[in-house]
Protein backbone atom coordinates (compact mmCIF):
# COMPACT_ATOMS: atom_id res chain seq x y z
CA UNK A 1 0.00 0.00 0.00
CA UNK A 2 2.65 2.54 -0.88
CA UNK A 3 0.19 4.51 -3.01
CA UNK A 4 2.30 4.43 -6.15
CA UNK A 5 0.62 1.53 -7.97
CA UNK A 6 1.81 1.80 -11.57
CA UNK A 7 -0.95 2.46 -14.05
CA UNK A 8 -1.52 0.39 -17.16
CA UNK A 9 0.06 2.84 -19.66
CA UNK A 10 3.20 3.03 -17.51
CA UNK A 11 3.45 -0.78 -17.49
CA UNK A 12 3.13 -0.83 -21.23
CA UNK A 13 5.73 1.88 -21.73
CA UNK A 14 8.14 0.10 -19.39
CA UNK A 15 7.62 -3.23 -21.14
CA UNK A 16 8.16 -1.69 -24.57
CA UNK A 17 11.29 0.11 -23.44
CA UNK A 18 12.71 -3.14 -22.12
CA UNK A 19 11.91 -5.13 -25.28
CA UNK A 20 15.51 -6.18 -25.81
CA UNK A 21 15.76 -7.37 -22.20
CA UNK A 22 12.52 -9.31 -22.51
CA UNK A 23 13.73 -10.98 -25.66
CA UNK A 24 16.99 -11.92 -23.96
CA UNK A 25 15.20 -13.37 -20.93
CA UNK A 26 12.53 -15.36 -22.87
CA UNK A 27 14.26 -16.41 -26.08
CA UNK A 28 11.86 -19.34 -26.73
CA UNK A 29 8.90 -16.98 -27.12
CA UNK A 30 10.65 -14.52 -29.42
CA UNK A 31 12.45 -17.05 -31.58
CA UNK A 32 10.91 -17.50 -35.00
CA UNK A 33 10.42 -21.13 -35.99
CA UNK A 34 11.45 -20.72 -39.62
CA UNK A 35 10.95 -24.30 -40.91
CA UNK A 36 7.46 -24.39 -39.42
CA UNK A 37 6.56 -20.99 -40.79
CA UNK A 38 7.92 -21.94 -44.23
CA UNK A 39 5.84 -25.13 -44.19
CA UNK A 40 2.69 -23.20 -43.31
CA UNK A 41 3.33 -20.64 -46.01
CA UNK A 42 4.07 -23.38 -48.56
CA UNK A 43 0.88 -25.31 -47.76
CA UNK A 44 -1.24 -22.18 -47.93
CA UNK A 45 0.45 -21.14 -51.18
CA UNK A 46 -0.17 -24.54 -52.81
CA UNK A 47 -3.80 -24.62 -51.70
CA UNK A 48 -4.41 -21.04 -52.84
CA UNK A 49 -2.57 -21.59 -56.12
CA UNK A 50 -4.64 -24.66 -56.93
CA UNK A 51 -7.76 -22.74 -55.89
CA UNK A 52 -7.10 -19.81 -58.20
CA UNK A 53 -5.77 -21.79 -61.16
CA UNK A 54 -8.71 -24.18 -60.72
CA UNK A 55 -11.19 -21.39 -61.41
CA UNK A 56 -9.28 -20.53 -64.53
CA UNK A 57 -9.10 -24.20 -65.63
CA UNK A 58 -12.83 -24.80 -65.18
CA UNK A 59 -13.79 -21.82 -67.29
CA UNK A 60 -14.86 -19.29 -64.67
CA UNK A 61 -14.91 -15.74 -65.94
CA UNK A 62 -16.22 -12.48 -64.56
CA UNK A 63 -18.55 -12.07 -67.51
CA UNK A 64 -20.04 -15.51 -67.01
CA UNK A 65 -20.46 -15.12 -63.25
CA UNK A 66 -21.98 -11.66 -63.60
CA UNK A 67 -24.34 -12.83 -66.35
CA UNK A 68 -25.34 -15.89 -64.31
CA UNK A 69 -25.94 -13.85 -61.18
CA UNK A 70 -28.11 -11.46 -63.16
CA UNK A 71 -30.14 -14.38 -64.41
CA UNK A 72 -30.39 -15.82 -60.89
CA UNK A 73 -31.82 -12.54 -59.61
CA UNK A 74 -34.29 -12.59 -62.49
CA UNK A 75 -35.29 -16.20 -61.62
CA UNK A 76 -35.69 -15.24 -57.96
CA UNK A 77 -38.10 -12.54 -59.06
CA UNK A 78 -40.11 -15.05 -61.08
CA UNK A 79 -40.22 -17.41 -58.10
CA UNK A 80 -42.42 -15.07 -56.09
CA UNK A 81 -45.02 -15.87 -54.97
CA UNK A 82 -44.53 -19.65 -54.78
CA UNK A 83 -47.56 -21.35 -56.25
CA UNK A 84 -48.42 -24.75 -57.72
CA UNK A 85 -50.74 -23.17 -60.30
CA UNK A 86 -53.84 -25.24 -59.62
CA UNK A 87 -55.27 -27.43 -56.91
CA UNK A 88 -54.90 -30.54 -59.08
CA UNK A 89 -51.17 -29.88 -59.55
CA UNK A 90 -50.86 -29.35 -55.82
CA UNK A 91 -52.38 -32.80 -55.22
CA UNK A 92 -49.97 -34.32 -57.76
CA UNK A 93 -47.03 -32.74 -55.94
CA UNK A 94 -48.38 -33.92 -52.58
CA UNK A 95 -48.64 -37.47 -53.90
CA UNK A 96 -45.10 -37.25 -55.27
CA UNK A 97 -43.90 -36.08 -51.86
CA UNK A 98 -45.63 -39.07 -50.25
CA UNK A 99 -43.81 -41.24 -52.76
CA UNK A 100 -40.52 -39.63 -51.72
CA UNK A 101 -41.22 -40.42 -48.08
CA UNK A 102 -42.17 -43.99 -49.02
CA UNK A 103 -38.88 -44.37 -50.90
CA UNK A 104 -36.89 -43.12 -47.92
CA UNK A 105 -38.84 -45.19 -45.38
CA UNK A 106 -38.96 -48.52 -47.19
CA UNK A 107 -35.42 -48.11 -48.54
CA UNK A 108 -34.00 -47.49 -45.06
CA UNK A 109 -36.03 -50.30 -43.48
CA UNK A 110 -35.12 -52.87 -46.14
CA UNK A 111 -31.45 -51.93 -45.90
CA UNK A 112 -31.53 -52.22 -42.11
CA UNK A 113 -33.20 -55.64 -42.15
CA UNK A 114 -30.82 -57.00 -44.79
CA UNK A 115 -27.72 -55.47 -43.19
CA UNK A 116 -28.46 -56.76 -39.67
CA UNK A 117 -27.18 -60.32 -40.25
CA UNK A 118 -24.30 -58.93 -42.33
CA UNK A 119 -23.29 -56.73 -39.41
CA UNK A 120 -22.74 -59.87 -37.35
CA UNK A 121 -20.83 -61.57 -40.14
CA UNK A 122 -18.55 -58.57 -40.65
CA UNK A 123 -17.90 -58.06 -36.91
CA UNK A 124 -14.43 -59.15 -35.80
CA UNK A 125 -15.56 -60.47 -32.43
CA UNK A 126 -18.37 -62.65 -33.82
CA UNK A 127 -16.50 -64.31 -36.67
CA UNK A 128 -12.77 -63.93 -36.07
CA UNK A 129 -11.76 -64.83 -39.60
CA UNK A 130 -9.43 -62.18 -41.02
CA UNK A 131 -10.03 -63.16 -44.63
CA UNK A 132 -13.84 -63.14 -44.38
CA UNK A 133 -13.75 -59.90 -42.38
CA UNK A 134 -11.55 -58.18 -44.95
CA UNK A 135 -13.48 -59.33 -48.02
CA UNK A 136 -16.89 -58.48 -46.51
CA UNK A 137 -15.70 -55.02 -45.47
CA UNK A 138 -14.22 -54.27 -48.91
CA UNK A 139 -17.40 -55.56 -50.57
CA UNK A 140 -19.47 -53.20 -48.43
CA UNK A 141 -17.03 -50.40 -49.33
CA UNK A 142 -17.66 -50.97 -53.04
CA UNK A 143 -21.43 -50.91 -52.51
CA UNK A 144 -21.02 -47.69 -50.52
CA UNK A 145 -18.72 -46.12 -53.09
CA UNK A 146 -21.44 -46.16 -55.75
CA UNK A 147 -23.76 -43.18 -55.43
CA UNK A 148 -27.48 -43.70 -54.82
CA UNK A 149 -28.28 -42.05 -58.18
CA UNK A 150 -26.11 -44.62 -59.99
CA UNK A 151 -27.81 -47.47 -58.13
CA UNK A 152 -31.13 -45.97 -59.20
CA UNK A 153 -30.04 -46.07 -62.84
CA UNK A 154 -29.03 -49.71 -62.48
CA UNK A 155 -32.28 -50.74 -60.74
CA UNK A 156 -34.32 -48.96 -63.40
CA UNK A 157 -32.93 -51.56 -65.80
CA UNK A 158 -34.38 -54.27 -63.55
CA UNK A 159 -37.82 -53.06 -62.41
CA UNK A 160 -38.45 -50.18 -64.81
CA UNK A 161 -38.98 -46.48 -64.13
CA UNK A 162 -40.82 -45.44 -60.98
CA UNK A 163 -40.51 -45.25 -57.20
CA UNK A 164 -39.86 -48.97 -56.77
CA UNK A 165 -36.47 -48.54 -58.42
CA UNK A 166 -35.86 -45.65 -56.01
CA UNK A 167 -36.65 -47.83 -52.99
CA UNK A 168 -34.24 -50.50 -54.21
CA UNK A 169 -31.55 -47.89 -54.90
CA UNK A 170 -31.80 -46.35 -51.42
CA UNK A 171 -31.86 -49.85 -49.91
CA UNK A 172 -28.73 -50.93 -51.82
CA UNK A 173 -26.64 -47.88 -51.08
CA UNK A 174 -27.69 -47.87 -47.40
CA UNK A 175 -26.98 -51.57 -47.13
CA UNK A 176 -23.30 -50.77 -47.59
CA UNK A 177 -23.41 -48.04 -44.93
CA UNK A 178 -25.40 -50.07 -42.42
CA UNK A 179 -23.26 -53.19 -42.82
CA UNK A 180 -20.23 -51.13 -41.76
CA UNK A 181 -21.97 -49.20 -38.96
CA UNK A 182 -23.71 -52.27 -37.49
CA UNK A 183 -20.56 -54.34 -37.45
CA UNK A 184 -18.74 -51.48 -35.70
CA UNK A 185 -21.56 -51.25 -33.13
CA UNK A 186 -21.35 -54.99 -32.52
CA UNK A 187 -17.56 -54.84 -32.23
CA UNK A 188 -17.85 -52.06 -29.65
CA UNK A 189 -20.21 -53.94 -27.35
CA UNK A 190 -19.38 -55.14 -23.86
CA UNK A 191 -18.64 -58.87 -23.63
CA UNK A 192 -19.55 -59.04 -19.92
CA UNK A 193 -23.32 -59.10 -20.41
CA UNK A 194 -23.05 -62.07 -22.74
CA UNK A 195 -20.78 -63.88 -20.27
CA UNK A 196 -23.28 -63.12 -17.51
CA UNK A 197 -26.11 -64.72 -19.44
CA UNK A 198 -23.91 -67.71 -20.24
CA UNK A 199 -23.00 -68.12 -16.55
CA UNK A 200 -26.69 -68.52 -15.62
CA UNK A 201 -26.92 -71.40 -18.07
CA UNK A 202 -28.29 -69.48 -21.07
CA UNK A 203 -27.85 -71.05 -24.48
CA UNK A 204 -26.37 -69.35 -27.54
CA UNK A 205 -29.75 -67.90 -28.52
CA UNK A 206 -30.33 -66.61 -24.97
CA UNK A 207 -26.92 -64.94 -25.05
CA UNK A 208 -27.76 -63.10 -28.23
CA UNK A 209 -31.29 -62.19 -27.15
CA UNK A 210 -30.57 -61.07 -23.57
CA UNK A 211 -26.87 -60.24 -23.59
CA UNK A 212 -26.18 -58.76 -27.01
CA UNK A 213 -29.42 -57.40 -28.43
CA UNK A 214 -30.25 -55.02 -25.55
CA UNK A 215 -26.82 -53.39 -26.03
CA UNK A 216 -26.82 -53.21 -29.79
CA UNK A 217 -30.46 -52.55 -30.58
CA UNK A 218 -30.79 -48.93 -29.35
CA UNK A 219 -27.59 -47.91 -31.16
CA UNK A 220 -28.76 -49.54 -34.37
CA UNK A 221 -32.26 -48.06 -34.19
CA UNK A 222 -30.89 -44.57 -33.68
CA UNK A 223 -28.47 -45.00 -36.59
CA UNK A 224 -31.33 -46.19 -38.79
CA UNK A 225 -33.41 -43.16 -37.82
CA UNK A 226 -30.50 -40.85 -38.56
CA UNK A 227 -30.17 -42.38 -42.01
CA UNK A 228 -33.90 -42.10 -42.55
CA UNK A 229 -33.52 -38.35 -42.11
CA UNK A 230 -30.68 -38.16 -44.61
CA UNK A 231 -32.50 -40.48 -47.03
CA UNK A 232 -35.50 -38.19 -47.04
CA UNK A 233 -33.15 -35.59 -48.49
CA UNK A 234 -31.63 -37.90 -51.10
CA UNK A 235 -35.03 -39.37 -52.04
CA UNK A 236 -36.17 -35.90 -53.06
CA UNK A 237 -33.64 -35.88 -55.91
CA UNK A 238 -33.74 -39.52 -56.97
CA UNK A 239 -36.55 -38.63 -59.39
CA UNK A 240 -34.04 -36.67 -61.48
CA UNK A 241 -33.00 -39.96 -63.09
CA UNK A 242 -36.58 -41.27 -63.22
CA UNK A 243 -36.79 -43.27 -60.00
CA UNK A 244 -39.93 -41.70 -58.57
CA UNK A 245 -40.75 -39.07 -56.00
CA UNK A 246 -40.86 -35.30 -56.08
CA UNK A 247 -37.51 -35.00 -57.89
CA UNK A 248 -39.03 -35.72 -61.29
CA UNK A 249 -41.46 -32.79 -60.97
CA UNK A 250 -38.69 -30.53 -59.71
CA UNK A 251 -36.51 -31.50 -62.66
CA UNK A 252 -39.29 -30.92 -65.19
CA UNK A 253 -40.36 -27.58 -63.72
CA UNK A 254 -36.78 -26.29 -63.69
CA UNK A 255 -36.32 -27.42 -67.29
CA UNK A 256 -39.53 -25.63 -68.30
CA UNK A 257 -38.50 -22.54 -66.29
CA UNK A 258 -41.74 -22.62 -64.26
CA UNK A 259 -40.12 -20.81 -61.35
CA UNK A 260 -43.26 -20.42 -59.23
CA UNK A 261 -43.70 -24.19 -59.27
CA UNK A 262 -40.02 -24.68 -58.47
CA UNK A 263 -40.10 -22.45 -55.42
CA UNK A 264 -43.31 -24.11 -54.25
CA UNK A 265 -41.77 -27.56 -54.57
CA UNK A 266 -38.62 -26.45 -52.74
CA UNK A 267 -40.77 -25.04 -49.93
CA UNK A 268 -42.69 -28.33 -49.70
CA UNK A 269 -39.40 -30.26 -49.51
CA UNK A 270 -37.99 -27.94 -46.84
CA UNK A 271 -41.14 -28.29 -44.74
CA UNK A 272 -41.19 -32.09 -45.05
CA UNK A 273 -37.52 -32.42 -44.19
CA UNK A 274 -38.00 -30.17 -41.14
CA UNK A 275 -40.97 -32.25 -39.93
CA UNK A 276 -39.14 -35.55 -40.45
CA UNK A 277 -36.04 -34.21 -38.68
CA UNK A 278 -38.16 -33.11 -35.73
CA UNK A 279 -40.08 -36.39 -35.39
CA UNK A 280 -37.05 -38.60 -35.86
CA UNK A 281 -34.95 -36.44 -33.55
CA UNK A 282 -37.61 -36.88 -30.83
CA UNK A 283 -37.68 -40.64 -31.41
CA UNK A 284 -33.91 -40.87 -31.30
CA UNK A 285 -33.79 -38.88 -28.10
CA UNK A 286 -36.42 -41.18 -26.56
CA UNK A 287 -34.38 -44.23 -27.53
CA UNK A 288 -30.81 -43.31 -26.56
CA UNK A 289 -30.83 -39.82 -25.14
CA UNK A 290 -28.24 -37.36 -26.30
CA UNK A 291 -25.51 -39.88 -27.09
CA UNK A 292 -23.31 -39.51 -30.15
CA UNK A 293 -24.54 -41.47 -33.14
CA UNK A 294 -22.05 -41.32 -35.93
CA UNK A 295 -18.68 -42.60 -34.89
Amino acid sequence: MNGSAPTAPRFEAEALADMAGLAARHPSIFRVNWPRRALTVAIVAVLAGLFISGFWALGFSFARIAGGLGKLVEFAGFMLPPSPGSYATFLTYLMALAQTLAIAFLGTLTAAILAFPFGFLAAKNVIPNVFLHFSLRRGLDVVRGVDVLIWALIWINVVGLGPFAGILAVATSNFGEFGKLFSEAIEAMDKKAVEGVASTGGGKLHQVRFGLLPQVFPVIVSQVLYYFESNTRSATIIGVVGAGGVGLHLYEQIRMLEWQHVSFLVLMILLTVAVIDFVSGRLRFAIIGNAKIVA
Binding site: L47, L50, F51, G54, F55, A57, L58, G59, F60, R64, I65, G67, G68, L69, K71, L72, F75, M95, Q99, L101, A102, F105, L106, L109, D141, V142, G145, V146, D147, L149, I150, L153, I154, W155, N157, V158, V159, G160, G162, P163, F164, G166, I167, S234, T236, I237, V240, V241, G244, G247, L250, Y251, I254, R255, L257, V262, V266, I269, L270, A274
Partner: protein
Protein backbone atom coordinates in the same frame (compact mmCIF):
# COMPACT_ATOMS: atom_id res chain seq x y z
CA UNK B 1 -25.82 -76.40 9.08
CA UNK B 2 -27.80 -75.86 5.93
CA UNK B 3 -29.01 -72.66 4.37
CA UNK B 4 -32.59 -72.47 3.27
CA UNK B 5 -33.73 -69.75 0.90
CA UNK B 6 -36.41 -67.83 2.71
CA UNK B 7 -39.67 -67.96 0.79
CA UNK B 8 -41.97 -65.00 1.01
CA UNK B 9 -45.48 -65.62 2.34
CA UNK B 10 -47.93 -66.58 -0.41
CA UNK B 11 -50.00 -63.35 -0.62
CA UNK B 12 -46.93 -61.10 -0.91
CA UNK B 13 -45.41 -63.39 -3.48
CA UNK B 14 -48.59 -63.24 -5.52
CA UNK B 15 -48.65 -59.45 -5.34
CA UNK B 16 -45.08 -59.28 -6.60
CA UNK B 17 -45.79 -61.77 -9.36
CA UNK B 18 -48.84 -59.79 -10.43
CA UNK B 19 -46.81 -56.59 -10.57
CA UNK B 20 -44.13 -58.34 -12.64
CA UNK B 21 -46.77 -59.79 -14.95
CA UNK B 22 -48.36 -56.37 -15.40
CA UNK B 23 -45.00 -54.75 -16.18
CA UNK B 24 -44.17 -57.43 -18.76
CA UNK B 25 -47.64 -57.18 -20.28
CA UNK B 26 -47.34 -53.40 -20.56
CA UNK B 27 -43.99 -53.76 -22.30
CA UNK B 28 -45.43 -56.39 -24.66
CA UNK B 29 -48.41 -54.15 -25.46
CA UNK B 30 -46.00 -51.32 -26.24
CA UNK B 31 -43.91 -53.50 -28.55
CA UNK B 32 -47.07 -54.85 -30.23
CA UNK B 33 -48.40 -51.31 -30.75
CA UNK B 34 -45.06 -50.20 -32.20
CA UNK B 35 -45.06 -53.23 -34.47
CA UNK B 36 -48.59 -52.45 -35.68
CA UNK B 37 -47.69 -48.83 -36.42
CA UNK B 38 -44.61 -49.98 -38.30
CA UNK B 39 -46.62 -52.54 -40.28
CA UNK B 40 -49.21 -49.92 -41.18
CA UNK B 41 -46.47 -47.53 -42.33
CA UNK B 42 -44.85 -50.27 -44.38
CA UNK B 43 -48.19 -51.10 -46.04
CA UNK B 44 -48.90 -47.45 -46.77
CA UNK B 45 -45.41 -46.80 -48.18
CA UNK B 46 -45.54 -49.98 -50.25
CA UNK B 47 -48.74 -48.68 -51.81
CA UNK B 48 -47.36 -45.17 -52.38
CA UNK B 49 -44.03 -46.50 -53.61
CA UNK B 50 -45.66 -48.85 -56.14
CA UNK B 51 -43.87 -51.85 -54.68
CA UNK B 52 -44.50 -54.85 -56.91
CA UNK B 53 -42.83 -57.91 -55.47
CA UNK B 54 -44.09 -60.15 -58.27
CA UNK B 55 -42.39 -57.92 -60.84
CA UNK B 56 -39.32 -57.71 -58.64
CA UNK B 57 -38.86 -61.46 -58.42
CA UNK B 58 -39.83 -61.99 -62.04
CA UNK B 59 -37.18 -59.48 -63.15
CA UNK B 60 -34.57 -60.09 -60.48
CA UNK B 61 -32.49 -62.18 -62.89
CA UNK B 62 -31.81 -58.97 -64.79
CA UNK B 63 -29.72 -57.61 -61.91
CA UNK B 64 -27.01 -60.29 -62.00
CA UNK B 65 -27.30 -60.40 -65.76
CA UNK B 66 -26.72 -56.62 -65.89
CA UNK B 67 -23.69 -56.98 -63.63
CA UNK B 68 -22.54 -59.81 -65.92
CA UNK B 69 -23.06 -57.61 -68.98
CA UNK B 70 -20.97 -54.72 -67.68
CA UNK B 71 -18.09 -57.01 -66.68
CA UNK B 72 -15.77 -56.96 -69.71
CA UNK B 73 -14.55 -60.13 -71.39
CA UNK B 74 -10.95 -60.56 -70.33
CA UNK B 75 -9.12 -63.56 -71.78
CA UNK B 76 -5.83 -64.61 -70.34
CA UNK B 77 -4.39 -65.18 -73.78
CA UNK B 78 -5.11 -61.64 -74.96
CA UNK B 79 -5.11 -59.86 -71.62
CA UNK B 80 -3.25 -56.79 -72.88
CA UNK B 81 -5.53 -56.23 -75.88
CA UNK B 82 -8.68 -56.89 -73.83
CA UNK B 83 -7.62 -54.41 -71.15
CA UNK B 84 -6.76 -51.85 -73.81
CA UNK B 85 -10.19 -52.33 -75.40
CA UNK B 86 -11.96 -52.08 -72.04
CA UNK B 87 -10.15 -48.87 -71.10
CA UNK B 88 -10.08 -47.45 -74.62
CA UNK B 89 -10.82 -43.96 -73.28
CA UNK B 90 -8.54 -44.03 -70.22
CA UNK B 91 -6.86 -40.70 -70.87
CA UNK B 92 -10.15 -38.95 -71.56
CA UNK B 93 -11.83 -40.47 -68.50
CA UNK B 94 -8.90 -39.64 -66.25
CA UNK B 95 -9.07 -36.03 -67.42
CA UNK B 96 -12.78 -36.00 -66.61
CA UNK B 97 -12.08 -37.55 -63.19
CA UNK B 98 -9.49 -34.82 -62.64
CA UNK B 99 -12.12 -32.25 -63.51
CA UNK B 100 -14.47 -33.94 -61.02
CA UNK B 101 -11.83 -33.71 -58.29
CA UNK B 102 -11.21 -30.07 -59.15
CA UNK B 103 -14.95 -29.34 -58.92
CA UNK B 104 -15.02 -31.00 -55.49
CA UNK B 105 -11.90 -29.10 -54.37
CA UNK B 106 -13.08 -25.69 -55.53
CA UNK B 107 -16.56 -26.30 -54.12
CA UNK B 108 -15.13 -27.37 -50.75
CA UNK B 109 -12.69 -24.43 -50.56
CA UNK B 110 -15.25 -21.84 -51.62
CA UNK B 111 -17.90 -23.27 -49.30
CA UNK B 112 -15.37 -23.64 -46.50
CA UNK B 113 -14.30 -19.98 -46.78
CA UNK B 114 -17.95 -18.86 -46.69
CA UNK B 115 -18.58 -21.18 -43.73
CA UNK B 116 -15.56 -19.78 -41.82
CA UNK B 117 -16.74 -16.23 -42.33
CA UNK B 118 -20.30 -17.09 -41.24
CA UNK B 119 -19.70 -19.55 -38.38
CA UNK B 120 -18.52 -16.96 -35.86
CA UNK B 121 -21.74 -15.04 -36.41
CA UNK B 122 -23.79 -18.21 -35.85
CA UNK B 123 -22.00 -19.29 -32.66
CA UNK B 124 -23.93 -18.52 -29.48
CA UNK B 125 -20.83 -17.55 -27.47
CA UNK B 126 -19.30 -15.04 -29.92
CA UNK B 127 -22.17 -13.47 -31.83
CA UNK B 128 -23.39 -10.42 -30.01
CA UNK B 129 -26.66 -9.92 -31.82
CA UNK B 130 -29.33 -12.59 -31.39
CA UNK B 131 -31.08 -11.40 -34.53
CA UNK B 132 -27.96 -11.79 -36.72
CA UNK B 133 -27.38 -15.22 -35.21
CA UNK B 134 -30.94 -16.33 -35.99
CA UNK B 135 -30.67 -15.05 -39.55
CA UNK B 136 -27.29 -16.68 -40.25
CA UNK B 137 -28.49 -19.99 -38.84
CA UNK B 138 -31.60 -20.00 -41.02
CA UNK B 139 -29.52 -19.19 -44.11
CA UNK B 140 -27.13 -22.08 -43.32
CA UNK B 141 -30.08 -24.40 -42.75
CA UNK B 142 -31.53 -23.49 -46.12
CA UNK B 143 -28.18 -24.05 -47.84
CA UNK B 144 -27.76 -27.56 -46.48
CA UNK B 145 -31.39 -28.73 -46.72
CA UNK B 146 -31.88 -28.03 -50.42
CA UNK B 147 -30.05 -30.91 -52.17
CA UNK B 148 -27.01 -29.84 -54.20
CA UNK B 149 -28.44 -31.41 -57.36
CA UNK B 150 -31.37 -28.97 -57.13
CA UNK B 151 -28.96 -26.03 -56.86
CA UNK B 152 -27.03 -27.51 -59.77
CA UNK B 153 -30.18 -27.72 -61.91
CA UNK B 154 -31.06 -24.09 -61.20
CA UNK B 155 -27.46 -22.94 -61.76
CA UNK B 156 -27.26 -24.83 -65.05
CA UNK B 157 -30.23 -22.76 -66.19
CA UNK B 158 -28.52 -19.56 -65.03
CA UNK B 159 -24.80 -20.12 -65.80
CA UNK B 160 -25.04 -22.60 -68.67
CA UNK B 161 -23.74 -26.17 -68.91
CA UNK B 162 -20.31 -27.14 -67.58
CA UNK B 163 -18.39 -27.31 -64.32
CA UNK B 164 -19.19 -23.72 -63.20
CA UNK B 165 -22.72 -24.55 -61.89
CA UNK B 166 -21.36 -27.74 -60.32
CA UNK B 167 -18.74 -25.84 -58.31
CA UNK B 168 -21.26 -23.24 -57.16
CA UNK B 169 -23.86 -25.86 -56.19
CA UNK B 170 -21.33 -27.81 -54.12
CA UNK B 171 -20.02 -24.59 -52.58
CA UNK B 172 -23.49 -23.56 -51.40
CA UNK B 173 -24.27 -26.96 -49.93
CA UNK B 174 -20.84 -27.06 -48.26
CA UNK B 175 -21.39 -23.61 -46.76
CA UNK B 176 -24.53 -24.88 -45.07
CA UNK B 177 -23.07 -28.17 -43.84
CA UNK B 178 -19.69 -26.83 -42.70
CA UNK B 179 -21.16 -23.61 -41.29
CA UNK B 180 -23.19 -25.62 -38.81
CA UNK B 181 -20.31 -27.91 -37.82
CA UNK B 182 -17.87 -24.99 -37.55
CA UNK B 183 -20.21 -22.96 -35.36
CA UNK B 184 -20.61 -25.99 -33.07
CA UNK B 185 -16.81 -26.24 -32.82
CA UNK B 186 -16.63 -22.53 -32.00
CA UNK B 187 -19.30 -22.94 -29.33
CA UNK B 188 -17.21 -25.61 -27.62
CA UNK B 189 -13.99 -23.56 -27.27
CA UNK B 190 -12.36 -22.54 -24.03
CA UNK B 191 -13.53 -18.97 -23.33
CA UNK B 192 -10.58 -17.96 -21.13
CA UNK B 193 -8.28 -16.92 -24.01
CA UNK B 194 -11.18 -14.91 -25.46
CA UNK B 195 -11.58 -13.05 -22.19
CA UNK B 196 -7.84 -12.56 -21.97
CA UNK B 197 -7.52 -11.07 -25.44
CA UNK B 198 -10.61 -8.90 -25.17
CA UNK B 199 -9.31 -7.63 -21.79
CA UNK B 200 -6.36 -6.11 -23.65
CA UNK B 201 -8.80 -4.00 -25.62
CA UNK B 202 -8.82 -6.06 -28.79
CA UNK B 203 -11.58 -5.62 -31.33
CA UNK B 204 -13.98 -8.46 -32.20
CA UNK B 205 -11.93 -9.36 -35.27
CA UNK B 206 -8.67 -9.43 -33.29
CA UNK B 207 -10.29 -11.59 -30.60
CA UNK B 208 -11.40 -14.09 -33.24
CA UNK B 209 -7.95 -14.09 -34.83
CA UNK B 210 -5.81 -14.53 -31.72
CA UNK B 211 -8.08 -16.31 -29.21
CA UNK B 212 -10.52 -18.38 -31.25
CA UNK B 213 -8.81 -19.33 -34.49
CA UNK B 214 -5.83 -21.13 -32.89
CA UNK B 215 -8.25 -23.29 -30.91
CA UNK B 216 -10.49 -24.29 -33.81
CA UNK B 217 -8.26 -24.41 -36.88
CA UNK B 218 -7.31 -28.09 -36.71
CA UNK B 219 -10.95 -29.10 -36.19
CA UNK B 220 -11.96 -26.92 -39.12
CA UNK B 221 -9.38 -28.58 -41.35
CA UNK B 222 -10.50 -32.03 -40.25
CA UNK B 223 -14.17 -31.32 -40.99
CA UNK B 224 -13.17 -29.69 -44.27
CA UNK B 225 -11.34 -32.85 -45.34
CA UNK B 226 -14.33 -34.98 -44.41
CA UNK B 227 -16.52 -32.71 -46.49
CA UNK B 228 -14.09 -32.89 -49.41
CA UNK B 229 -14.49 -36.67 -49.34
CA UNK B 230 -18.29 -36.33 -49.50
CA UNK B 231 -18.06 -33.70 -52.22
CA UNK B 232 -15.95 -35.97 -54.45
CA UNK B 233 -18.87 -38.41 -54.43
CA UNK B 234 -21.28 -35.54 -55.06
CA UNK B 235 -19.21 -34.12 -57.91
CA UNK B 236 -19.09 -37.54 -59.59
CA UNK B 237 -22.87 -37.35 -60.20
CA UNK B 238 -23.04 -33.62 -60.98
CA UNK B 239 -22.71 -34.52 -64.66
CA UNK B 240 -26.11 -36.24 -64.50
CA UNK B 241 -27.72 -32.81 -64.73
CA UNK B 242 -25.04 -31.31 -66.98
CA UNK B 243 -22.93 -29.68 -64.28
CA UNK B 244 -19.53 -31.03 -65.32
CA UNK B 245 -17.28 -33.91 -64.38
CA UNK B 246 -17.31 -37.60 -65.17
CA UNK B 247 -21.04 -38.07 -64.43
CA UNK B 248 -22.06 -36.93 -67.91
CA UNK B 249 -20.15 -39.79 -69.53
CA UNK B 250 -21.36 -42.28 -66.95
CA UNK B 251 -25.04 -41.53 -67.44
CA UNK B 252 -24.62 -41.58 -71.21
CA UNK B 253 -22.97 -44.99 -71.17
CA UNK B 254 -25.69 -46.33 -68.83
CA UNK B 255 -28.51 -44.89 -70.94
CA UNK B 256 -26.99 -46.06 -74.23
CA UNK B 257 -26.02 -49.52 -72.92
CA UNK B 258 -22.26 -49.14 -73.54
CA UNK B 259 -21.81 -51.93 -71.02
CA UNK B 260 -18.04 -52.16 -70.66
CA UNK B 261 -17.76 -48.37 -70.45
CA UNK B 262 -20.11 -48.42 -67.44
CA UNK B 263 -17.84 -50.76 -65.49
CA UNK B 264 -14.70 -48.93 -66.63
CA UNK B 265 -15.98 -45.52 -65.44
CA UNK B 266 -17.51 -46.94 -62.25
CA UNK B 267 -14.21 -48.57 -61.35
CA UNK B 268 -12.36 -45.30 -61.89
CA UNK B 269 -14.84 -43.51 -59.61
CA UNK B 270 -14.76 -46.20 -56.90
CA UNK B 271 -10.96 -46.38 -56.93
CA UNK B 272 -10.64 -42.59 -56.72
CA UNK B 273 -13.15 -42.38 -53.88
CA UNK B 274 -11.30 -45.11 -51.96
CA UNK B 275 -7.92 -43.42 -52.42
CA UNK B 276 -9.34 -40.07 -51.31
CA UNK B 277 -10.99 -41.75 -48.29
CA UNK B 278 -7.71 -43.31 -47.19
CA UNK B 279 -5.68 -40.14 -47.81
CA UNK B 280 -8.07 -37.85 -45.95
CA UNK B 281 -8.31 -40.32 -43.08
CA UNK B 282 -4.51 -40.26 -42.73
CA UNK B 283 -4.46 -36.47 -42.84
CA UNK B 284 -7.27 -36.17 -40.34
CA UNK B 285 -5.54 -38.48 -37.88
CA UNK B 286 -2.38 -36.41 -38.27
CA UNK B 287 -4.37 -33.23 -37.60
CA UNK B 288 -6.05 -34.69 -34.52
CA UNK B 289 -2.66 -35.86 -33.27
CA UNK B 290 -1.32 -32.33 -33.74
CA UNK B 291 -4.17 -30.94 -31.67
CA UNK B 292 -3.64 -33.29 -28.74
CA UNK B 293 0.10 -32.51 -28.66
CA UNK B 294 -0.26 -28.74 -28.49
Amino acid sequence: MSHAIARLPEPRLRALEDAYGAAVAAKRRQVLLGGLVLAALVGLSAWAGEVDLAKFFANLWRFPSYIGDIVPTLRLTHLGEDLAEWYWGLGYWLRLMGETLLIAYLGTMLGGLCAISLCFLAAANLSRSARVRWLVRRVLEFCRTVPEIVFALIFVAAFGLGPVPGVLAIAIHTTGALGKLFSEVVENIDMKPVEGVSATGATWLETVRFAVLPQVLSNFASYGLLRFEINVRGAAVMGFVGAGGIGQDLIESIRKFYYSDVSAILLIIIATVMVIDLATERLRHALIGMESRS
